[in-house]
Symmetry: C2
Subunit: 216 residues, 2 copies
């Protein structure tokens, strides 16, 4: 069985999106700075259907994460930005167009039931109206021997940690202060797991920090 | 002229002390985990008058920071835990006994005026009732060509960042989630400086992250 990995880019002050997010700018003010490191990479460009891109240690880390991942879990806002029923949602099929960059099963946490969406390129979106643990269980089954990636947002990651389900945290720490926004780990606790660092990879735009949950 | 360096140990979820701090346990619940990495080091033990200790990359980083520092600035609670006038304060001369581990001039931000305290071993405590910028200016004069260290708490560091005075951030990131407490960077913004990473040093108990403020 694979690991359950929570992976997200985060600012120095702990935000995964900046203040005042909108449908046009879902990452909030300054939030794009969290992801500047990833856009030039070959391993980011390729699944987005873009040619070329940088190789090197950052790229290899992302490529390895993609290779290891068999299924993805994400929150509703990360999927579409929407909050209401799907028929009101301008991004009802997600942000990514007809051929999303996942190319594997994606499980979306939502309060609004909906039939699965089969997209081009191997991405399927399955909508889970039960709790997070059910979504992770479904993703585990779909991932078989591979890892399940909890891709965000902050709430989904916090809940996964609180449920004791996260085996590994992979944080991409960007050297920016956002001064507000959606905070990672804000909903964690009161009982918190122990972690130990297993990898630190430095690069100019980001520090990658990998932690393993230590279970008694 | 030296740099102004803000240096502090911080949890993965951004706290510099845990929840429910008391005079007996000023670091709050779990807050001691933030500092476990430093206690075994020779460079920590020596200024505390203790023999022996570990050497190696962590130790060298701490030793280098101590060598570079000419004066220290800290908030009142970091000095004594107290909030009221000094005569009510059980740690009125600080937490550290007659021979504090600083061995250099320390400037304490406070609302309550007081004569300077000359301690054993070269530590002097000067109490600054004006604003943070005055305290930093006094520390700069005392440090001469050496660095000024803003040692905490979170408020003092946040204010220094907001005033545009921090040249360097040195974070000791401990792989723990505290789930509450005193949050670093909570008072930062809305205008936030840019930083770039200049050093990452990995060790089992902590990741040292050094950032340089980028000025236009």
């Amino acid at each position: 069985m694979g690991k359950i990995v929570a992976e997200i880019s985060v600012s120095l002050d702990g935000y995964v999106a900046g203040p005042s997010p909108t449908l046009e700018n879902p990452l909030g003010e300054g939030g794009d700075q969290l992801h500047e490191w990833v856009f030039p990479l070959k391993s980011w460009r390729e699944p987005h259907g873009l040619p070329g891109g940088e190789t090197g240690p950052d790229d290899e880390l992302v490529a390895e994460s993609l290779r290891a991942t068999g299924a993805v879990v994400m929150g509703r806002r990360m999927f579409s930005g929407g909050e209401g029923p799907w028929e009101n949602d301008t991004n009802a099929n997600g942000w990514w167009g007809d051929d999303p960059p996942f190319h594997k099963p994606v499980f979306v946490l939502t309060h609004h039931a909906r039939e699965p969406l089969v997209m081009e390129g191997g991405t399927t979106f399955t909508f889970v109206t039960e709790d997070l643990e059910n979504a992770i269980e479904d993703a585990r089954a779909a991932a078989a021997e591979q890892d399940v990636l909890i891709a965000g947002g902050a709430d989904a990651i916090d809940q996964s940690i609180n449920a004791g389900l996260v085996d590994e945290l992979l944080l991409h720490l960007a050297p920016v202060l956002l001064g507000g926004g959606a905070r990672l780990f804000d909903g964690v606790g009161p009982a918190v797991p122990r972690f130990e660092v297993t990898q630190v990879l430095e690069s100019p735009l980001v520090t990658h920090l990998r932690y393993r949950a230590v279970r008694a």
